[in-house]
Amino acid sequence: MRNPSPTLDGPCCGGPYLLTPGHARCEMCGKDYRFTEFPAFRAQRVVTKPRELADTGDATCFFHAQNQAETVCTGCGRFLCTVCAVDFGGRILCPSCIATGKTSPARADREKWMPEGIALLLATLPLLLWPFTLLTAPVALALVIWNWNKPAGLVRRFRWQRWVAAVFSLAQLAGWTWLFVAMFSR
């Protein structure tokens, strides 16, 4: 299969684009773009066609009963045709294994909650209604301690939020302790 007329799904209004070397112009809105294209833009598109069953004794694809199985999913062991076999980082996986995250988690993560960010919010936001800090400060401190050694995200960077959250929650806990001691010592 060939891809002789590359279509450009542009960012503005979706109109056709007039392409000149290094430049693209949307023909609908007239917006100009600097256009840096790469070989994939005009590359041949490879289409994999599955083999149909030649004999009724052949193993069939788990997802397509009419297709001959040609490989096995390394995640779940299902028979797969060439359409369903996805080469995922050197492993052959079926779509359901990819969807359920049997790949390397780091490569499949789409989003991640940041416990130190939540801890920072818990440590600072309730200061507006300070009685709530009796509840939120221990939770924030627990979140900070619990996640101290865990990787904070896919990329490594300095996580200042955990330090600020720890300092604020400790200060609030110290304040509450002082308040209780002062109350009960009377």
Partner: protein, 231 residues
Amino acid sequence: MSAAASTTTTNGARAGAAGVAQQQYRRIRWQNGGLFSHASLWLADDHVLQVTSTGVQERYQRFYLRDIRALMTCDAHTSSVGGLICGFVAFFSGLILMLSAATGNGNTGLFIFFAIMLLLTVFFLWRGRTVKMYAVTELQTVLWRSVARKWQADKLLAQLTPLINAAQSDLSPAPPLPQSPPLPQSPTQPQSPPPPQQSAATSTDAAPSATAAPSADAAPSANAAPLAQQP
């Protein structure tokens, strides 16, 4: 478009090393963003990762070098509009400040306001032209939010272009479509006059230019033309 672009492309899933628990990412663009979220760009062996963070949640978008079809950059007028507005406000507040100083009524608050506006104007001008950069893949076109200035876009293009070209070095361009044979003219159809020589020359001259949809004759890959050369 970018709202629905939280996933990587399907082709991109093929590339990469198996069983890598933790990818080693190198930052290629620092954080940039708005009031409630910011984005940064990171480079791994085979893909670019855009991290959009709201403080409590990070969203990841992977752009495999093999899948990036093009990078598109356009002017955004944020800096010029911002600089113009701040410049006007600074000019008028400076005017009022001078008039009030001439009448002997010095105003410290107005002076501080004038200084802030002047600093903002200088900041907008000093940071350079603002641009928007988009990554085009087979399935989606996504804004790279962390690239906001022209010099940042130039730097990123210079950094990524050889990597992407290397990752796609085995891709062969599609052959052009075969010319369809001319339709036989019916005997009843009146003979159309031959096109004038001028228009034929014009169409030959226009060969490098091609609309994206029917661009079989479009010029081959041309990388990184400077933005200043835009018409």
